[in-house]
Subunit: 315 residues, 4 copies
């Protein structure tokens, strides 16, 4: 990630302000406000603004339950209770806004989370930066043979070199031709004074999907956790997980109590189906059950055994 | 509106805090943060938290348009442009949270605005306050004869007294019987130690729709303006308009530039249909057109004449 | 539930139509289309329209996964896979529309599910029916002592009679006074020709929360299941559960394969937290663990033991 | 647009079915159900399913207004009234589902309409088709000099040839290298049996933004009209307008009465600001006002004059 001199200065200026407010604050999050946290080769995440903290969740829950919540006497106990019982609305009372720089093919996954507000850099108005994502070698994996959607073994040696070469070359050439069609370089210099440039909204179609874009993305705490649950999971594509992992850190700085409950009940938790419960009940009762005695498919059986670390029962 | 001693003290405590933040602030809104602004006989609105200010809208728009926005050189010019051309996403980048106390029949209108987050006082957990809305005499209007949905002339004299008497008496009796069924008074004292009380989730059904409830209500600036456009309009029911009017004041304190654009383009603006445009074009051209020469219905004709203050053309 | 002659005739007319369509159909749901299925004392649910069936989910999933789904060779297998892995978007491809008659205090719970489309009977325009909900005796329960939000033992004898008497009397009196203020009876007859009636938008505030209202409510299959998961649960208030139970039947008629997966993975399933998993692992391993050796609260411990039917371990 | 033999057969099979239903139908829309309507060079739109018709809107409105709507005695009159007064919820009672094939850079614009359900072809699972969008010559325009976001004059001659050549060559080369990295051709044949292919979720990043993708897109009638109002407008990018125009035709077949009202009040209508109204009032009064006597910016002035066809007043 490289920032221009102007960007670095702008971040410094924003960080040096010190305003007074009667609103609640999240001191650990304030420490990194506006900071560009580097991700992948050219991407970043910056927390731009936020609203509320752990206390705002408690406060909203107490409005709902009135005197009925007095019994749960700690904030932490109440937040854990809300998380466990899917009482979701108090978590919607906190809001966060990120500035994200990310490759377009990742932006396309990300945007499928609809309950968020977005302002994306428009390539109809302006020229996209000359930056594209190239995986590092340890992330260059083959198509998985067991999982239609995932990655398998790392690709090595000559084939890896070749792939990286193709990606780099194609991105550079298509970008060069993008400039050619625009009759304008990425830095704004005109190429040929005797020509007009192709409309930006058209020229952009020549760029490859690893070109970086950027946006402001704002969401509430509940939907942020829904996003992180899916995208910080090991099934998620590595490139979006890299963003989710950094966002998990910002979550911890923002609402540390909620973060702990989220890790316990969501990230580290498991769902067990009705049929799966019958299997576990028998195992707890000391019966050595196998798949033929159940209604589970092979895949369901293995997922259940894996969740409870029963490796010798995998089939 | 009456607040308990505890509530008054809590508001004072919240208002006396002075935190430092690197976030942007809205100084005129900070002045009234947490304050209970009285509405109707027992209701109020309090701004509890907010995120962003006019500058956040400009900042988000500039992320979208990149260097393409440099030409619009004032923030005010850019905000007006966004409002005029329905570029809605930058306005979604600001968020506000209210604490509202309001009669249930108004809460039922309000909740139809779905794009908001809500934590309402739950009468399954706790006992509702002994407070109900009684209109003041100047708001006691007859059913409109021209508008199926609105109010007509004020009701006076004996009939007004009678209506107010019935409303008061019924609200008080049903509340008393609510306590009776709960076997508990609004202040928590048990009525008869030898009895159990009816479940709260059941007893509440005996209350009248003018009973006050309360909630935290959080929304973004775009949806707040959508709400205000409809609910601060003179077609809106008086009781919800009373809330919308106070919220308009908070809007002005929060985002003064956006407020001005909103008043000009939305609140004070008019939509003219394709057929209506033809009529206006002829009038501008000096032709003395009448309804028979148009495709407008009587109602459409009158709405158009009214919007342009052509009272002698009303039919 | 009583329907007017006109309503009964209208339903018959709707049901007797036989249109041809190239769209997919759900034959078992067609059987009860438009039928008023009775709920509580005066309520009902009617399926008014629907779009898609089990096959539409499969079709949508296959668009997403392309040739990648060929391996899962049965529709049922694919739907189970989608449900288990929270692949939610294919379920959003089906839509259903209900006509519901329900007490206002239940309508207020229901409307908190925001991702739905609603047209409610407007008491600003028209007079509400003279119908209110009175619980049957077996549903007249005391406030729970263990659960702040729930019901405990049934209330019997004289106290039950008294409660029912109060509910009936208060609803009847407030409705009578509603008519009085409107100067109009529920059937449209004017009471006193020399008087004007109070505006309907005002008079309605005198009604009690057990008055029936009605609405059209339309949602997609995913959000319907979210609704049913919460509202058909035994923690839900009985009165809304009565509606959810009938809707579960309509779900089964509409999308039988999805219904089965929903019952197995959602309704009958359980979530186990990270800490809970450790407890289960030890129990499976044959260790006789007790709460002191865990990080679970007493409540969490009991919920876990209950989910796996380990009654002797409840504390 | 070319369809495979299998696709053509599948469409024929779907179209030849004739199911009976008690639901309302839209006969003119049934005529083209499942049909692939060609757009751009390789794109299409197909209506896959729908729910409701004009009558469903009327029916929903009558539930809301009860006897209060009796006065508006025609369906057309009621629908026009709803449209004019922004009574939006009855329009949400109808739903439609499209299958769309479109270039990725257009898909990225489209997806910004969040209130819709989407299942997109996943390039993590499957290989994208070897199809990319190349503009026809008459759509090859230069960047507009007056509008930062739009197109100006057509680009001709040698420069046009060059642009088209670059777009074609780059798309073909990046696709060829995509196959190379996957070690698999678009038709599934393996290139080199001794190699493993790069994971699909990675290889796709090499494709250009004019590559075609496809999705199922489902939305309600209200949100469809919001989409069409923006995307069938002459300010919209030509490539998305091509889709919107075809969708306008499907709207007309589906809900002809609503379509007429939509064209009159939305598509052909204009918004006039508070300040703009003052200008029009003076013009109607016969005063020859010019911009200096108003508070309008030059841009606002010109937009107003253009809307009312006062070309001699443009400045």
């Amino acid at each position: 990630m490289k920032l221009t001199k102007e960007q670095t200065q702008e971040i410094k200026d924003l960080q040096s302000q010190s305003n007074t407010t009667k609103r609640v604050t999240a001191p650990r999050l304030e420490e990194i406000l506006y900071e560009a946290l580097p991700i992948l080769d050219h991407g970043f995440i910056r927390v731009i603004d936020y609203m509320g903290n752990d206390n705002s969740i408690v406060q909203a829950a107490r409005v709902s339950y009135g005197k009925g919540t007095k019994k749960v006497n700690t904030d932490s106990g109440l937040i854990k209770y809300l998380m466990r019982h899917w009482h979701s609305t108090p978590f919607e009372m906190c809001e966060i806004k990120y500035h994200v720089k990310l490759p377009i093919f990742i932006a396309r996954q990300w945007i499928r989370h609809r309950t968020a507000n977005v302002n994306e850099y428009s390539a109809r108005y302006s020229i996209l930066d000359k930056e594209f994502y190239l995986p590092s070698k340890e992330n260059l994996a083959a198509q998985s043979t067991s999982n239609r959607q995932g990655r398998g073994d790392i690709i090595n040696g000559g084939q890896a070199e070749k792939v990286l070469g193709l990606l780099k070359e194609d991105a550079e050439r298509t970008y060069k031709n993008y400039e050619e069609m625009l009759n304008e370089r990425y830095d704004g210099t005109v190429i040929d004074d005797n020509k007009v440039g192709l409309a930006r909204e058209l020229a952009r179609m020549n760029l490859t999907l690893n070109t970086y874009t950027q946006w402001y993305w704002k969401t509430d705490l509940l939907n942020l956790m829904n996003f992180l649950r899916l995208r910080a999971d090991h099934h998620a594509q590595y490139e979006i997980r890299a963003y989710a992992d950094v966002m998990l850190d910002t979550l911890k700085r923002w609402v540390p109590i909620t973060y702990d409950a989220f890790i316990d009940y969501r990230v580290g938790g498991t769902e067990v189906s009705s049929k799966g419960k019958e299997v576990l009940k028998k195992l707890i009762g000391g019966h050595n059950i196998n798949i033929d005695e159940t209604d589970l498919s092979k895949r369901e059986w293995n997922e259940l055994m894996q969740a409870f670390n029963l490796k010798d029962k995998l089939i």
